[in-house]
């Protein structure tokens, strides 16, 4: 009989490590996740307790996927829908693998590197994740009857049965549940809710004979609605108080520019990050070291981040009419707001003696996706949850900010603060003319 393997987790207690993971857990792409902190630079700047890693989050997500699948199997059994019960049982290992691997393609300081990878390497963490999974774990997973193609389809929400992908990739997926509770615990805010109760409020809506049309939805009950509202409030609060916290955000934007510069100047580093075979060795520690080795701007910025000697916020405003007069070219470009902020940064620094002494940042608040309820409308489709809390959270806001390098701040901060809005309005007016 196989011995069962467990790890102890501060959030979920004992987590059982399945056999397929026991076989591969010491491989480099997985070990690397131990050297990537879930909240990246936030541990260095605002939240010293946030030392939890991507590896621990991946284990937690896999664990919750298992719990949710078991709960759904029980419900399907009670409803007598044997087709759906069978589909869940047959796919349990694949779903747990997809939950474990969902972040394997993320680099260190993940969201910082995301933008850099898109801009300079024309790839993203999803594509990278699929490559890493197929190149490194295909044989090991398929030996354990886990088809890697199916895992990839679930991870990227492309499985023909939507309810399977929804478990790891939807408005109330196990990834979000784990990272919210885990992040809040490690930053010290300790927001919490009853996980088992929350997961028990999810169910599958649709005809068992037509799994292509089945969705993971919320039970149609007051308890379920209350439970998901609490989840959404925590989600929103975490964005306001943790994910977009000012100083860490400034450090992240500084690091983003340092990496962009380093990749322009160091071809070897560029090759290392763009090649999936070498990307799997890039972790937080060696990436910061590599960036620090690139003389000039990149070296300086890494030194400043390490000393917590950060840029300051020079100015900020809401990016909306009538605060700014916008034209269609600018509005269309804002759909890729990271690229817009980089372009505004370049324009603002045009006449400056050093690059990136001013950094523009555009922050788009995250809005929750639609939440479907286990009740059909007259067209036979599940209805969307209605809730004043959900409506309030769905209201999108955009903020535009400019950060300034400390020396320039001392010399010219006051005068720049007075003119910056005019400069940005001028840049918007001239946008792609």
């Amino acid at each position: 009989m196989n011995r069962k393997h467990y790890v102890t987790d501060p959030i979920h207690g004992d987590i059982e490590i399945p056999n397929w993971l026991v076989r591969i857990k010491d491989e480099l792409p997985i070990r690397r996740m131990n050297n990537i902190r879930q909240l990246g630079l936030k541990a260095l700047i605002d939240f010293p307790g946030a030392i939890h890693t991507r590896y621990l989050h991946s284990l937690g997500t896999m664990h919750l996927a298992g719990k949710l699948i078991d709960s759904l199997i029980q419900k399907e059994e009670a409803k007598g829908r044997s087709d759906l019960k069978k589909s869940l049982s047959n796919n349990k290992k694949c779903l747990q693998a997809a939950a474990f691997f969902h972040d394997i393609g993320h680099g260190p300081f993940s969201h910082v590197l995301d933008f850099v990878m898109k801009k300079t390497l024309k790839t993203d963490h999803e594509k990278m994740g699929v490559r890493i999974l197929k190149d490194n774990f295909k044989d090991a997973l398929e030996d354990e009857s886990i088809p890697v193609d199916r895992v990839c389809k679930i991870m990227t929400a492309n499985h023909k049965y939507p309810f399977l992908g929804d478990i790891v990739n939807d408005s109330m997926d196990v990834d979000k549940v784990d990272y919210l509770i885990r992040d809040s615990y490690f930053v010290g805010l300790r927001y919490n809710f009853d996980l088992e109760h929350f997961l028990s409020q999810l169910t599958i809506c649709g005809e068992g004979s037509n799994p292509e049309k089945c969705k993971l939805v919320l039970e149609n009950s007051k308890e379920a609605k209350a439970s998901v509202q609490l989840f959404l409030l925590i989600w929103k609060t975490m964005y306001d108080l943790v994910y977009y916290v000012r100083d860490s955000r400034i450090a992240e934007k500084m690091l983003e520019k340092a990496i962009l510069r380093a990749l322009e100047n160091d071809n070897e580093l560029r090759k290392k990050i763009s090649n999936p075979n070498t990307f799997v060795s890039v972790d937080e520690y060696n990436l910061l070291e590599d960036i620090a080795q690139v003389k000039g701007f990149s070296e300086k910025i890494v030194g400043m981040i390490r000393k917590n000697d950060l840029y300051s916020e020079l100015w900020s405003d809401e990016l909306r009419e009538p605060n700014f007069v916008m034209n269609e070219r600018f509005i269309e470009s804002l759909r890729k707001h990271d690229e817009v902020s980089e372009k505004i940064t370049q324009e603002l620094c045009k006449d400056k003696s050093e690059p990136y002494v001013l950094i523009c940042d555009i922050i788009r608040t995250k809005a929750p996706r639609n939440i479907l309820v286990d009740k059909l409308d007259k067209e036979g489709e599940p209805i969307q949850m209605e809730s004043p809390i959900l409506e309030a959270l769905r209201r999108e806001e955009l903020a535009i900010k400019v950060y300034i390098e400390p020396t320039l701040h001392k010399k010219k901060g006051k005068s720049l603060a007075k003119t910056i809005k005019k400069d940005i309005q001028r840049i918007i007016e001239e946008w792609e003319k």
Binding site: N220, R320, E321, P322, M326, I331, V373, D377, E386, E396
Partner: protein, 137 residues
């Protein structure tokens, strides 16, 4: 029209519609305008629960709301059901008027007005059925 921007076309659509009732109707309207009537939207659609759906379109609508160019109103239909209605803000109307006067392709404006009116007259069930027949490849 090579350089027509999706956000401009969305604003134009709302300009003709005054109000667009329902997220589902909005998604299917844009899908039918793109594939059946060849209005040059670039949004990518995929088959989804309610027929074709575009994440990019949902994201663009959300952006236009954030910029205060359109508003989304919620109407309670009872029994836990709601309907979302989109319309242009005053600022949105001002921008569309200026865009219409500047655009080099006046045809796109009249075609949008004509086809949108046709689609508006369809009951939602008919629109969903039509959108589901579209080949998205």
């Amino acid at each position: 029209m090579k350089n027509t921007r999706d956000t401009f076309l969305l604003l134009l659509l709302m300009y003709f519609g005054k109000k667009v009732h329902g997220r589902t109707r909005f998604q299917k309207t844009v899908c039918v305008l793109k594939y059946k009537y060849k209005i040059p939207f670039h949004f990518k659609f995929r088959s989804y629960y309610y027929g074709p759906y575009s994440d990019d379109l949902a994201d663009a609508l959300s952006l236009l709301q954030g910029l205060n160019l359109i508003t989304e109103e919620v109407e309670d239909l009872g029994e836990g059901m709601v309907r979302y209605t989109y319309k242009l803000t005053d600022k949105g109307v001002k921008i569309v008027n200026s865009l219409i006067s500047k655009t080099g392709d006046k045809k796109i404006v009249s075609r949008m007005g004509k086809y949108f009116a046709e689609i508006q007259r369809m009951p939602i069930s008919e629109l969903i059925a039509l959108s589901k027949k579209i080949d998205l490849s």
